[in-house]
């Protein structure tokens, strides 16, 4: 197991994972408000890490990742009290993965802006299909009574953030990950040196959907209700992309930095000056894209970010 050895020797990764795990103490130390903040942070870390696994490595920018999150939420909400949560949450991940696998085959045929638009459109399509199904069976929204406590959900979410980080790290260091980077640098060249591009793209896309599926399920439990337009909200996709860009996706800590930065921003301004908040986010996005395209991680840890690209 050379991959495992590599991880045990990777001090930065171990410290990072440990600090994720240490958030289990947040509820006890700082109370329930900060527990929710920690839960949100872990959610964005999980989503952004997963997004990075596919879009960061291949350069195929998915603007529809919310669809996996939404479908996972739907699985958990519609099987609530029917299936135990330890079945339904993973099932959400599996269903999201299967959905990704099914759409990957047609969607990954297009590149560049067409891919971006197609993923966005696809997420909207699924959103309205689910909405119509729900309406036709007479459910405008579902209340989830008796969901686990915030603490429990936080622990699950920390687990998902750790798994998402490990997955992304393992993939980026493997032959498979190198192949994905080759696709990003030049897909035709990658193909001519013998990278199985189609297989790699489909696998990465599927892998990157599984964690968001489970995250969606946990978040539905957190809000204790399920409302289609909310869990399939495209703003979630945009936020993930923004976090990945601001944080930087060349370093495992990048997605965390991006998520933490935006959350901090929203904690500071969302309640007091909500009109300014989105403007600020937009400004930061522009500033980062222009001046620091590799994100916060590349500014803080320049050498390492380059290594892992």
């Amino acid at each position: 197991m050379t991959a495992l050895n590599g991880i045990l020797k990777d001090r930065v990764l171990l410290i990072f994972l440990t600090s994720l795990v240490l958030t289990v103490f947040v509820p006890d130390l700082f109370g329930s408000y900060w527990a929710i903040v920690a839960l949100n942070l872990m959610m964005w870390v999980s989503l952004t890490q997963s997004w990075t696994l596919f879009s960061g490595m291949t350069g195929y920018i998915s603007l529809g990742h919310v669809v996996f999150y939404g479908i996972g939420a739907y699985v958990v909400a519609s099987t609530f009290k029917v299936l135990p949560l330890w079945v339904s949450i993973p099932l959400g991940g599996v269903v999201a993965g299967v959905l990704a696998l099914l759409v990957a085959i047609p969607v990954l045929r297009v590149r560049g802006p067409y891919f971006v638009i197609l993923t966005f459109g696809l997420a909207e399509l699924v959103k309205y299909i689910v909405l119509n199904v729900e309406t036709s069976i007479g459910k405008s929204s579902r209340l989830l009574f008796g969901a686990p406590t915030i603490e429990t959900l936080l622990y699950i979410m920390i687990g998902l953030a750790v798994i998402a980080t490990l997955m992304t790290k393992l993939v980026s260091q493997s032959r498979f990950g190198r192949g994905l980077s080759a696709i990003r640098d030049d897909e035709i060249t990658a193909e001519t040196v013998g990278v199985p591009v189609v297989k790699y793209k489909i696998t990465a896309f599927t892998l990157s959907a599984v964690i968001p599926g489970m995250v969606g399920g946990v978040i539905a439990l957190k809000s204790t209700y399920f409302e289609v337009l909310q869990v399939f909200n495209p703003v979630i996709s945009f936020t993930v992309v923004t976090m990945a860009i601001i944080g930087g996706s060349g370093d495992v800590r990048g997605p965390f930095m991006g998520a933490a930065f935006l959350l901090l921003l929203s904690e500071l301004f969302w309640a007091t000056i909500p009109q300014i908040y989105m403007i600020l986010v937009g400004l930061f996005l522009i500033v980062f894209v222009v001046f620091a395209p590799n994100g916060i991680a590349a500014i803080l840890w320049p050498a390492r970010s380059r290594d892992s690209q």
Binding site: G179, E191, T192, V193, V197
Partner: protein, 240 residues
């Protein structure tokens, strides 16, 4: 002597647009076979179809005694059919040495990369000098050498060279052409698509002339070179 590659009634194109309309040609083992023709005649399309980057809608492709046209591109690389794409596509953020290593990711070549890379450096001393430099900082000619070297790293039985001298200074183009006989000596078969008619026919054992997605003439390089129909009327000026 046997044919390493044979293309039989192949049709291919992009989406609804057909480019190749029943291509027929054969390449001899350990020889240079050339494909000449004007811009838009279908040279690159044929190269890409043989390499598996484009599917053929009709016809068949045999390589080294096997039908390969249903195989994905990476499986063709494993079999030793390696394309060096047009336009010097190198990974510009990787060093020269790393670029070369990417060429040997296929299972057959992987173990031998160290001995292969020395051979490549022998063929292209310039690459040896620049091995630690980023590929993006190389000149056009050096990038083409790198792309060619990367193709060799995959231990090809046959190299598909798509316009290897496109946009290069004549002196550098000459160097690229000079390497080809050395490759053939090592037993590699070469299928070369080129616009530089004179030099191509000079070096080619056999050549096919393509026009509008069809082979319109074929003969030995020597015969075609002296064919007035080719040199004057069809492909225009060929003084270079």
């Amino acid at each position: 002597m046997s044919d390493i590659l044979s293309v039989h009634k192949v049709e291919s194109g992009y989406g609804e647009v057909g480019v190749l309309h029943g291509m027929d040609l054969q390449c001899r083992t350990s020889k240079v076979t050339a494909l000449v023709g004007s811009n838009g005649a279908g040279k690159s399309t044929l190269m890409r179809t043989i390499a598996g980057l484009l599917p053929n809608t009709k016809g068949s492709i045999h390589f080294d005694g096997e039908v390969i046209d249903k195989l994905p591109s990476h499986a063709r690389v494993e079999k030793g059919l390696i394309m060096v794409p047009e336009g010097r596509l190198v990974f510009s953020d990787l060093t020269v040495a790393d670029n070369l290593r990417t060429g040997s990711v296929n299972v057959r070549a992987r173990e031998h990369w160290q001995s292969t890379i020395t051979e490549v450096y022998d063929l292209f001393p310039r690459l040896y000098e620049r091995q630690r430099q980023l590929a993006g900082s190389l000149s056009g000619g050096e990038q083409q050498m790198l792309a060619l070297g990367r193709g060799l790293m995959g231990l090809p039985k046959m190299l598909l060279l798509d316009e290897p001298t496109l946009g290069l200074a004549p002196a550098i183009a000459k160097q690229i052409f000079k390497v080809m006989p050395a490759l053939v000596e090592r037993g590699i078969s070469i299928f070369l698509a080129e616009q530089d008619l004179y030099r191509t026919l000079e070096i080619a054992d056999y050549a096919f002339v393509v026009e509008n997605g069809k082979i319109i003439m074929h003969d030995t390089g020597k015969v075609l070179k002296n064919d007035p129909k080719i040199t004057n009327a069809y492909l225009g000026d060929s003084k270079s």
